[in-house]
Amino acid sequence: MGANIDIIFKIAGVGILTAVLHALLKHAGKEEQAHLATLAGVAIILMWVIDLLGNLFEQVKTVFRLF
C-alpha cells in the first residue's frame, strides 16, 4: 500500500508541475513548448501507469490461471 500511494502522489505531482509549466510557458508566449511540456509529462506518467498495468495483468493471470 505504501509504494502504491507513493506512485499516486508522484503522478499527481508531475501532473501539477506540468500544469504549472504549461501555464507559465503559455504566459511567456511559448505555446509550442507549453504543449511539448504537457506531452512530455503525459508520456512519463504513461510509462509508469503502463508498468503498473502490466503488473496488474501479470498478477491476474497468475491468480486466475489465465495462461
Binding site: 500500500m1 499516486i8 502522489f9 501532473g15 509529462g41 491468480v63 486466475f64
Partner: protein, 128 residues
C-alpha cells in the same frame, strides 16, 4: 484494518484527480487508472487465497479440474474487462467500453463452450 487503508487511499486519489481535472484532464485520467490498479492489486492477493480454497474443495469433491479452471478464467476475464470498461467510461468513451464488454462476453462464451457441451452430453445420456 485494511478497509480503512483502502478507503483513505481512494479518497486521497479522488481529491488529486479532482484537482488535476481542472488543469490537465488527461493526467487526471492517468492518476485514476493508477489508483484503480493499485486498489485492484491490493485485493487480488486475497482473491488468490479464496481460489486456493476453492481448488482444494473441488479436489476433495472430485470435480474435474478442467471445469474449475474454465470458471476461474471466466472470472478473471470478467474482472479485467470490467476494469478496462470502467476506465474507458471514466474517460468519456462509452462506445469503447461497450466494445470491451462485448469482447469479454464473446471470450467468456468461447471458454464456456466445453462446459455447455458437457452439460448437454449429460442431458443426452439421461434422455437416452
Amino acid at each position: 484494518m485494511e478497509i480503512t487503508q483502502i478507503v483513505g487511499f481512494a479518497l486521497v486519489a479522488a481529491v488529486l484527480v479532482i484537482i488535476l481535472r481542472q488543469y490537465k484532464p488527461e493526467i487526471a485520467l492517468l492518476v485514476s487508472i493508477a489508483a484503480g490498479v493499485a486498489l485492484f492489486l491490493v485485493v487480488l492477493g486475497k482473491i488468490g487465497a479464496v481460489i486456493e480454497i476453492l481448488q482444494d474443495l473441488s479436489r476433495r469433491a472430485n470435480v474435474n479440474m478442467v471445469y474449475l479452471g474454465a470458471v476461474l478464467k471466466i472470472v478473471g476475464i470478467a474482472y479485467i474487462a470490467d476494469f478496462g470498461a470502467q476506465v474507458c467510461r471514466d474517460a468519456g468513451e462509452g462506445a469503447l467500453a461497450a466494445k470491451i464488454e462485448l469482447a469479454a462476453k464473446i471470450l467468456i462464451l468461447v471458454l464456456a463452450i466445453p462446459i455447455v457441451m458437457a452439460v448437454l452430453e449429460i442431458l443426452m445420456k439421461i434422455l437416452d
